[in-house]
C-alpha cells in the first residue's frame, strides 16, 4: 500500500519536474498560429484590412479581433485559405476594405518628382530609392503594389502600372473548348490540336 503511494508520489514528482523543465526548455516564442496566418497573407503591407500591415492583421485574426475576409490583395483564394486554417466558414471578401485589383507596381514620373522623400517614408518595404531634393525611383522588383506611396505625394507624380503579361510571366490557360457555331465548323479549329 505504502509502496504504491511512494511510487505514485515519485512518478508525480518526476513527471512534474520533466514537464516544468520542458516548458522552459522548449518554449515556443510567439504564437505559431500568427506565423501560419501571416504565411497565407500576401505581404503587400497595404493596410487595407484596417491594420498597419500583414503581421498585425494576422495577430488580430489569431486573437479573434478581425474577420478573415478583409484582405483584397489576397483575393478569394486567400480568404478560403484563411477559413481553412482557422476552421471557420468561408466568407466572400468584404467590399468595405476594397476590391481585388490586378497586381501592379508603382511608377514615379521622374519629370514631376520634387524629391520630397515623403513616399520613401511611406513605403513599407523600402522599395523607393532617392534622397532629399533628388529624384526618386521605384525598385520595381521589390514593390508590392500597396499604393501607400500615392497619398503622401504632394505633386501626384506616382501612378500604379498593372504588370503586363509577357512571355516571362505568361501562363498556360485552363483547357476550355471554343463553342463552334454549326455553320462554321470548317474554319474554327486552330488551338484544339495536339
Amino acid at each position: 500500500m505504502l509502496t504504491a503511494v511512494y511510487v505514485m508520489l515519485f512518478l508525480a514528482l518526476l513527471l512534474g519536474v520533466l514537464l516544468g523543465y520542458s516548458a522552459l526548455k522548449f518554449k515556443v516564442d510567439g504564437d505559431p498560429l500568427v506565423a501560419r496566418i501571416d504565411a497565407i497573407l500576401p505581404q503587400t503591407q497595404c493596410g487595407q484590412c484596417g491594420f498597419p500591415g500583414c503581421k498585425p492583421y494576422a495577430t488580430a485574426i489569431a486573437a479573434g479581433e478581425a474577420d478573415i475576409n478583409q484582405c483584397p490583395p489576397g483575393g478569394d483564394a486567400g480568404a478560403r485559405a484563411l477559413a481553412d486554417l482557422m476552421g471557420v466558414e468561408y466568407k466572400p471578401l468584404n467590399a468595405e476594405h476594397g476590391l481585388p485589383k490586378p497586381k501592379s507596381v508603382a511608377l514615379i514620373d521622374e519629370n514631376t518628382c520634387i524629391g520630397c522623400t515623403l513616399c520613401i517614408q511611406a513605403c513599407p518595404v523600402d522599395a523607393i530609392l532617392g534622397a532629399a531634393k533628388h529624384m526618386h525611383t521605384i525598385i520595381a522588383s521589390e514593390c508590392t503594389g500597396c499604393e501607400l506611396c500615392l497619398a503622401p505625394c504632394p505633386v501626384d507624380c506616382i501612378t500604379m502600372e498593372p504588370i503586363a503579361e509577357s512571355p516571362d510571366n505568361w501562363k498556360w490557360r485552363y483547357p476550355v473548348f471554343d463553342i463552334k457555331s454549326v455553320g462554321q465548323v470548317g474554319n474554327a479549329q486552330a488551338g484544339t490540336r495536339h
Binding site: Q43, C54, D126, E142, S166, W170, P175, Q189, A190, H194
Partner: protein, 582 residues
C-alpha cells in the same frame, strides 16, 4: 538496387533496355527527305528575338543605326545560364523593340531587327586550335570563350551548350551520348544533317569529347533513318576519334519519345537518370548532332551560331530542309517550301506532338526552331470533344516517365495543385503520349501545362511575399532602432546640458576663470590659424620640384621679381601714408 540490376543486365549483354511507354504515331518523314538541304535566299531583314534560349536574356551591345557584320556579337550572355546572339548577316540595325516571337503565348518580346545590305560580309574569323589546350585551366578558358559563341542545344530545348560542357570534380563525364534519334514525326533536319555532313558532326563530337574527357561515345539513331545511320557509321570509321575512344553508332527502335535525352540515355546505356539529378551526376552527357556541328563550326572556323537547318513540311508544295539564318521569317521559309496549299489553316513550330501554333507567319526562325509544319484539317483534324475519363490507364501505359497521368489529370482539372506536385507533375516532359493515347480525347498535356504554370506562378508569388515580409520586418526594425538612437541622443544631450548648467552655476561666482577659459579658447583658435598658415606655406607647388635647373632658375627669377614688386607696392603705400600724415 537499380545499379545492381544494370550490372546484371550488362553482364548478360543486355546493355540497352526497352523504354517503358511511348507511342508510334505515323512518322511522315519521307516527304521532306527527298531533296538535299537547300539554302534560303538572303532575306531583306532579320528579326532576332533576345529570348531564343533557356535562361537569362542576353545584354544588348548595339544600338539602332549601327552597321554590323555577319557574325558580329549583338548581345552578350548575361549571368550563368544565358547565350549570346550574333548578326546572321551584314546590315544596319533598324530597331530594338518588341515584336512577335515564336512562343506559345503569342506575345511580343524584345527583338533586334537588322536590314540586310546583301553583302553578307563576315567578321574576321578567329578559329581556335582546341587540340593544343590540354590542361583544365586552358579548357575553362576555352569554355569562357564559348560563352560568346551563342551555341545552344539545337534539338529544341535551347539550353546553353557552354554550361553543359563544364566539368568539375563532382560530375565527371564518362559516356558522351550523341542524340540523333529525332523521334518526333515530320521533323527531318537532323536526319538530313547526318546524311550530308556526318564527317563534320564527328569533328564536333571530337571537340565535345576533348572538353569533357569522355571515355566512350555513343550515337543513338532510330531505325527509320538507315541512310543517316550508314553515313554516321562511315564517318565514324574515318574519324580520328575512333582511335581515341570506343565510338559506336547504336540503332534504336523507332518509338516516340526516345529522342528525349533521358529516354535515349536509358535506351543506350541502361542507366536511368534519377528525376532529381542531372545526367552528369551519373557520368553521362547528351548532345544533339546539330549542336556538336555548331561546336565544330565555332572552333575550327570561328563561326558563331547564326543559322540552323529547319524542316518545312506538312501542307506545303515541296516539303524539304533548308539552312536558315536565325531571324528569317517563317513566311520566307514557307515560300521556299513552294508555298502553302490552299486549305492551310495555321503553322506549327516544332513537331506535331510537342510543337505549338504560331501566332503569325511573320515570326522569325530562332535557335530552337527545328521544324515548321503547315497544318490543314486533313493532316491534323481538330480533336473531337473530350469525354469523361474512364480510368482505362492507357495514358499510364504510354507515359515514358512512369507517371500516373490519370491521377495528375484529376488534380490538375480540380486545380488541386499541391496534390499534383506530390504526384511528380514536374517530372512530366510534356511529350503528349498520354493525349495521343487517350480514348476519351482528353487534352491531358494541356491540363499539365496549366497546372505547372499555375504552380510556378504561385511559387513566384510566395517568394515575392517572403521577400516583402523580410524587407518589411527589416524596415520596422530599422525604424525602431533609429527611434532608440534618437532617444539616446536626446538623453545624452539633456544630461550634457544639465551638467553644463551646473558647471556655469558653480563658476559664475568668479569671473576670472571664465576669462581664463575664453583666453584658452582664443589661444587655441590662434594656434589653429597659425598651423593652417604654416601648412599652406609648406605646401610648395608640386609641379616645379622636378623641373630642370634652367627652369628652376627662371622660376626663382620670377619669384624675385614678384617679391620686388610686392615690396615696391608696400613701399609706395608706406610713402603715401607718410606723405598723407605729413
Amino acid at each position: 538496387m537499380s545499379s545492381l540490376l544494370n550490372i546484371v543486365k550488362q553482364s548478360f549483354g543486355l546493355g540497352a533496355v526497352a523504354v517503358s511507354g511511348g507511342v508510334h504515331p505515323p512518322d511522315h518523314k519521307h516527304e521532306s527527305t527527298t531533296q538535299a538541304v537547300g539554302q534560303l535566299p538572303l532575306p531583306h531583314q532579320l528579326t532576332l528575338p533576345l529570348r531564343q534560349h533557356v535562361g537569362n536574356l542576353p545584354k544588348v551591345l548595339v544600338k539602332v543605326g549601327d552597321y554590323v557584320l555577319k557574325g558580329q556579337l549583338l548581345a552578350e550572355a548575361e549571368g550563368n545560364i544565358s547565350a549570346a546572339i550574333h548578326a546572321p548577316s551584314s546590315g544596319t540595325i533598324t530597331s530594338i523593340e518588341d515584336a512577335l516571337i515564336p512562343h506559345p503565348s503569342g506575345l511580343p518580346d524584345r527583338c533586334i531587327t537588322i536590314a540586310l545590305d546583301g553583302k553578307d560580309e563576315w567578321i574576321a574569323h578567329a578559329p581556335i586550335d582546341w587540340r593544343k589546350l590540354e590542361t583544365e585551366q586552358d579548357k575553362s578558358k576555352l569554355l569562357e570563350g564559348l560563352r560568346s559563341s551563342g551555341i545552344v542545344g539545337l534539338g529544341g530545348a535551347a539550353f546553353p551548350t557552354q554550361v553543359k560542357l563544364r566539368t568539375n570534380a563532382k560530375s565527371s563525364v564518362d559516356t558522351l551520348v550523341l542524340n540523333a534519334a529525332e523521334c518526333e514525326p515530320y521533323i527531318t533536319c537532323d536526319d538530313m544533317l547526318m546524311r550530308e555532313r556526318a564527317d563534320q558532326i564527328l569533328k564536333g563530337l571530337e571537340i565535345a569529347q576533348h572538353l569533357l574527357g569522355a571515355k566512350q561515345c555513343l550515337i543513338g539513331i532510330e531505325d527509320n533513318k538507315p541512310e543517316a545511320a550508314e553515313a554516321m557509321r562511315h564517318a565514324c570509321a574515318n574519324s580520328p576519334l575512333s582511335k581515341l575512344v570506343p565510338l559506336k553508332v547504336v540503332v534504336v527502335p523507332t518509338q516516340y519519345p526516345s529522342g528525349d535525352a533521358r529516354q535515349l540515355i536509358r535506351l543506350l546505356t541502361g542507366i536511368e537518370v534519377p528525376a532529381d539529378k542531372r545526367s552528369t551526376d551519373v557520368g553521362l552527357q547528351c548532345f544533339n548532332v546539330a549542336t556538336v556541328l555548331a561546336l565544330h563550326r565555332y572552333f575550327d572556323f570561328g563561326e558563331p551560331s547564326i543559322s540552323r537547318i529547319v524542316t518545312i513540311t506538312g501542307n506545303v508544295q515541296k516539303p524539304a530542309n533548308y539552312e536558315v539564318l536565325f531571324g528569317t521569317s517563317v513566311a520566307d521559309l514557307v515560300q521556299a517550301g513552294g508555298g502553302a496549299l490552299a486549305d492551310t489553316d495555321g503553322y506549327i513550330m516544332g513537331g506535331p506532338m510537342m510543337g505549338f501554333n504560331l501566332p503569325s507567319v511573320s515570326v522569325p526562325i530562332t535557335k530552337a526552331s527545328n521544324c515548321v509544319i503547315a497544318s490543314a484539317p486533313n493532316l491534323f483534324p481538330s480533336a473531337p470533344p473530350a469525354m469523361p475519363c474512364i480510368r482505362c490507364a492507357r495514358c499510364a501505359d504510354v507515359c515514358p516517365v512512369s507517371l500516373q497521368p490519370q491521377e495528375l489529370y484529376w488534380f490538375a482539372k480540380s486545380s488541386n495543385l499541391e496534390k499534383a506536385r506530390d504526384y511528380n507533375l514536374f517530372d512530366c516532359i510534356e511529350c503528349g503520349c498520354c493525349t495521343y493515347a487517350c480514348p476519351s480525347n482528353i487534352p491531358l498535356v494541356q491540363y499539365y501545362r496549366f497546372a505547372k504554370s499555375e504552380i510556378i506562378a504561385q511559387d513566384r508569388a510566395k517568394e515575392a511575399a517572403d521577400l516583402a515580409r523580410e524587407r518589411n520586418e527589416f524596415r520596422l526594425m530599422r525604424i525602431d532602432r533609429e527611434k532608440q538612437e534618437r532617444a539616446e541622443k536626446h538623453a545624452q544631450k539633456a544630461a550634457g546640458a544639465k551638467a553644463e548648467a551646473a558647471k556655469t552655476e558653480a563658476t559664475s561666482a568668479t569671473e576670472a576663470p571664465e576669462d581664463e577659459a575664453m583666453a584658452a579658447k582664443k589661444a587655441a583658435i590662434a594656434a589653429a590659424i597659425e598651423r593652417a598658415k604654416a601648412q599652406k606655406a609648406a605646401a610648395a607647388p608640386q609641379n616645379v620640384v622636378d623641373a630642370i635647373p634652367s627652369v628652376q632658375a627662371e622660376i626663382a627669377e620670377i619669384d624675385a621679381r614678384r617679391e620686388a614688386a610686392k615690396q615696391s607696392v608696400t613701399d609706395a603705400i608706406a610713402t603715401n601714408d607718410a606723405q598723407e600724415e605729413k
